[in-house]
C-alpha cells in the first residue's frame, strides 16, 4: 500500500538521489501490529509539575522506559512535554528549550507529545496566551520532525488531569503506531470519564459495533481494525455492494446487513439486527459516504441532494433512533467519518464539503445529548488516503496531493481505522464532540 515513490526513496540509491536533488523523503511509517511495543525506546517526560510526576509514574506502571532527564546521546522513543500549569507565555521557554536539546536524539518514528490545558478555559489573558501558544509551537515543531516522527498534543479541559483515563488513552494512542498518520493534532479531554481496557490488545472486547459503508476502502479497514481490537461486528452497506460486504464480513466473523442507510427505517433496522443477532449495541461508526463532484456552477439537484442525503441526513436520522433506543444506553460510542474537505474546502466538492462540515457540526451538537448515558460522539477527518477512490485521481494531481503534508505521503485506510477504533473505545469516554484529523498534517486547512 506504500506508494512507489516512498518505497524508492526509503533505502539505498533512491534515498541518496532524492537527498541530493532535495526531493521529498517520505519514510515507511511505524504502524501498530498486535504484540508490537507501544513505543521504540525510552520516553522522556519533561516538566516539573505534579501532573508531570503523576504521569511519569503511571507510564512506569506500563513498563515503559521512562526518563525524567535526558541522558546525552541516548536515542529517545518519545518526548512528552507536560505543560499543564502555564500562567504566562514566558513560562514556555524553559521546558520547551530543554526539550529542544533532546530533539536530535529522537529515533526514527519517535513521538513528541504535549500535555497542556485548553485555552478556552483559561482564567486570564496571560494563561490563555500561554495555553494557545503551546498549540502554535507544537504544530510548527511537528513540521520540523523527520523520519516518520510526529508531534501531537492532548488538551485538558477543567475536570481533566494528566492521568485521567482519556488523557492516558489518548497518550497511548498517540505514542503507538496506531497514530502513524496523525500529525500536528490535538485531542481535547473534557472530563474524567472513560476507562482503560483490561487488555490493551483487545480494547473493544465484548463490544458490538456497527460499521456503515463497510464493503470496501476505509470502511473495510475499520471493520478489520475493530475486529482485531476484539469487537463483534455488524457490517452495513448498500445491497448492490453486498458481494464485497460478504467477503469482509466473513473475514472479520461479522454479520452482513445489506441496507441503504438513507432509508427512513435504517436506524431501527440497524438496532434490531445488532440486538437480535448479537444481544447488544455499543458502537456505531458512520463511515458510509459518497462523492458526486462538480463545480458549483455546474451542480445539479441530483448530485447535491444525494450527497447530503447519504453523508449527513442519514447520520442525523440514525442518531435520533440510537439516542431514543433503550439498547444504546451503556456508554455508547458514535464515530463519524468527516473529511478535511469539510474543514479546508476542496474545489469541485461544495456538496461533499457541506455534508462533511455538517458531520462536524452534528458531532459537536450531539455530544451533550449522548453524555448523559456515559456516551461520546466524535468525528475523524481523513486527509489524503490511498484508496480506490483516490487512485482514480489523475497521476500528477494525486502525486501533489499525497506529498502536501508533513509526512510527505498519503495515509492508509488503516490509519483512519486506528483513530476510529481509539475513539470508539472505553478509554476515549472523556473525549466527545471532537474532530480528529488523520491527514499527516496536511498543509491545507487548519
Amino acid at each position: 500500500m506504500t506508494d512507489k515513490y516512498t518505497q524508492f526513496v526509503s533505502r539505498g540509491l533512491g534515498k541518496d538521489i532524492a537527498k541530493r536533488l532535495g526531493l521529498p523523503l517520505p519514510v515507511v511509517l511505524r504502524r501498530h501490529q498486535p504484540g508490537y511495543p507501544l513505543v521504540d525506546g525510552p520516553v522522556l517526560v519533561q516538566g516539573s509539575t505534579s501532573g508531570a510526576d503523576e504521569l511519569a509514574s503511571t507510564l512506569l506502571d506500563w513498563n515503559l522506559d521512562v526518563r525524567r532527564h535526558a541522558v546525552p546521546k541516548e536515542k529517545l522513543g518519545a518526548i512528552i512535554l507536560v505543560l499543564d500549569e502555564l500562567a504566562h507565555p514566558e513560562d514556555l521557554e524553559k521546558p520547551v528549550l530543554v526539550a529542544a536539546a533532546s530533539l536530535r536524539d529522537l529515533s526514527a518514528h519517535a513521538r513528541v507529545l504535549t500535555v497542556s490545558r485548553t485555552s478556552a478555559s483559561a482564567p486570564d489573558p496571560a494563561s490563555a496566551a500561554a495555553r494557545q501558544g503551546v498549540e502554535g509551537m507544537l504544530r510548527s515543531l511537528a513540521k520540523e520532525l523527520r523520519a516518520g516522527a510526529t508531534g501531537n498534543g492532548v488538551l485538558l479541559a477543567d475536570g481533566a488531569g494528566t492521568t485521567s483515563p482519556s488523557t492516558l488513552g489518548a497518550l497511548r494512542f498517540l505514542l503507538s503506531g496506531r497514530s502513524a498518520f496523525v500529525d500536528g493534532q490535538f485531542l481535547t479531554v473534557s472530563s474524567g470519564a472513560g476507562q482503560l481496557p483490561d487488555d490493551a490488545e483487545k480494547p473493544l472486547a465484548g463490544k458490538v459495533a456497527v460499521v456503515t459503508g463497510a464493503a470496501r476502502g476505509i470502511g473495510a479497514a475499520i471493520a478489520r481494525t475493530l475486529y482485531r481490537d476484539g469487537a463483534t461486528l455488524v457490517l452495513v452497506d448498500i445491497p448492490a455492494a453486498g458481494d464485497h460486504l460478504a467477503q469482509v464480513a466473513n473475514e472479520v466473523h461479522g454479520t452482513a446487513l445489506q441496507l441503504d442507510i438513507s432509508r427512513a427505517d435504517a436506524g431501527r433496522r440497524i438496532i434490531d439486527h445488532a440486538v437480535e443477532r448479537h444481544g447488544r449495541l455499543d458502537i456505531v461508526i458512520h463511515n458510509a459516504g459518497i462523492t458526486r463532484d462538480k463545480l458549483l456552477a455546474n451542480m445539479d439537484q441530483g448530485r447535491w441532494n444525494s450527497v447530503i442525503a447519504v453523508n449527513i441526513a442519514a447520520q442525523l436520522r440514525i442518531n435520533e433512533a440510537l439516542l431514543a433506543s433503550e439498547h444504546f444506553r451503556n456508554s455508547p460510542r458514535i464515530v463519524s467519518v468527516a473529511s478535511t474537505s469539510g474543514i479546508a474546502g476542496n474545489r469541485g466538492q461544495t456538496n461533499y464539503a457541506a455534508s462533511k462540515g455538517g458531520v462536524m457540526g452534528m458531532v459537536r451538537a450531539t455530544a451533550p445529548l449522548i453524555a448523559g448515558q456515559g456516551g461520546s460522539i466524535n468525528a475523524v477527518a481523513p486527509g489524503f488516503i490511498e484508496t480506490d477512490m483516490t487512485a482514480r485521481i489523475p497521476f500528477a494531481t494525486r502525486e501533489v496531493a499525497r506529498r502536501l503534508n508533513s509526512l510527505q505521503q498519503g495515509g492508509r485506510p488503516d490509519d483512519v481505522a486506528e483513530a476510529i477504533a481509539f475513539l470508539a473505545s472505553d478509554a476515549a469516554g472523556g473525549i466527545s464532540g471532537e474532530v480528529l484529523r488523520v491527514c499527516g498534517q496536511n498543509l491545507v486547512g487548519a
Binding site: A241, D243, L245, A246, Q247, N250, G254, T255, L257, R263
Partner: protein, 457 residues
Amino acid sequence: MSVNGQPASEPQKSTSSAGQAVAAMPQLRAAVVVGGNRIPFARTGGAYAKSSNQDMLTAALDGLIARFGLQDERIGEVAAGAVLKHSRDFNLTREAVLGSALSAETPAYDLQQACATGLETVLGLANKIKLGQIDSAIAGGVDSASDAPIAVSEGLREVLLDLNRAKTLPQRLKILGRLRPKDLAPDAPNTGEPRTGLSMGEHQALTTAQWKVTREDQDELAFKSHRNLAAAYDAGFFDDLLTPYRGLSKDSNLRADTSLEKLATLKPVFGKNLGSEATMTAGNSTPLTDGASTVLLASEEWADAHDLPKLAAVVDGEAAAVDFVHGKDGLLMAPAFAVPRLLARNGLTLDDFDFFEIHEAFAGTVLSTLAAWEDEEFGRTRLGLDGAFGSIDRSKLNVHGSSLAAGHPFAATGGRIVASLAKMLHTKGQVDGRPARGLISICAAGGQGVVAILEAR
C-alpha cells in the same frame, strides 16, 4: 399445524392411509427456515458466462454465511446439486463448502432430481433435522447453462478407452483406424427428454394445447411475473435474500418495462407443428439461466441458541411422477398429482393457503396445472375425487414474481422459492388465528414433480 405433518386445524379432511401412518409416528421436532441467500440469476452467456457451478455455489454459500455470521461454523450437513454437471464435479457441494467460510468439518453431499433438486435438498435435510440427526443444514442448488459440460462422442469415447487398454503399437493403430470424422463432433447437453426426443418446450406445448391454455393467459402470467418481481426489488424485498455477484445485483432476465403489448408481438417458438395455433413464445417460457441459491435450515433450538430468526417451518413434502412417455400425462404435470396427495395427507384444501409458489417453467405449465385442478373429469378419473380438486385465488400466486421473470437455473430454483416464501410467510404472520401457510410446486424433467408446505413462524 404440528411438526409431524398432522394438521392443527380442524376438521381433518382426509384419513388416507398415508395420513394414518404419519399419525402413528412419534412426535417429531420442527425444522425451520432461518433464511436464504442466492446470487442474482443471469441469462446464459451473460454475466456468469465464465463462472463454474462451484464458483457460483461457493458465492451463494459465502453470502449466506456473511448474512447469518456462520464463519467457521460446523453445519450439520450441506446438500446441493446441479442438473448440468461436469464429471469433475462429483463432489460439487463438498468442494464448495471447502471453498467457503464454513468450518472445513462440515459434511456435504450432492443430490440431483432435475429441476426439483433444490426443493428436494430442503425436504431431505428438513427431515434429518426433524428426526434429530442434525441440528442445522444448508440446502441449495446451482446450475450453469453457460459453463455446461461438453462430452466427446460415444465413438471417440470408446476408441479412447480401448486405446488406454491396448498394449502394443499395432493394436493402438488398429483402434485409431476405427475413428471416423463424425466421432470428433462434441456432444453438448440439451433439455430433450431421452425417451421421447422432444425438448421440454415441445412437451409443454402438447400439454398447453391439451388444456386449451390461451396465448393471452400465458402472456398475462409472464407480464405479472415481471411486474411482481420488479416491484419486489423496488420494495427492498430481496435485500436480505440476495447477494450481488459479478456485477449483477438483479436478475438479468427481469424486464421491468415489459408490457402485454410487447409480449404479444413475440413469435411462437414451441408447438409450431401441432396443427393448432402455437402459443408458447420466448416471453412466456423461461430462458436458460445461470445462478445459485442456498437456504439455511435448523431446529428451533439451534436457531434460538444462535440468535437467528425462524421464518417458517418446513411442514411436509411430496414427490410424484407421471407416465409422459406413453402420453398418459404431460411431461410437467406431476405436481397436479403431488399436491392433492400432499394436501389430503395434511387435511388441507387449496383454500387453506395464503401463498402459492408454482414454478413457472413455462406459463403454460402453471396454467395447465391450475386447469387440471379445476377440471371435474380430471378430478374424478385421475385424482379419484368426487369432482374438481379446486381452484386457487390468483392474487396469492407468485406474488413476488417467479421463474418467467427471475429466470430458472434448474437446481437453484427450489432454494429461491423456499427462502422467498419463508420470508413472505414470516412477514404475513397469522391469518385467521393460524400461521400463514404457503404451497410450493416444482415440476421437473423425467415427468417428475416435488411439492411442499411451509408454515409461518
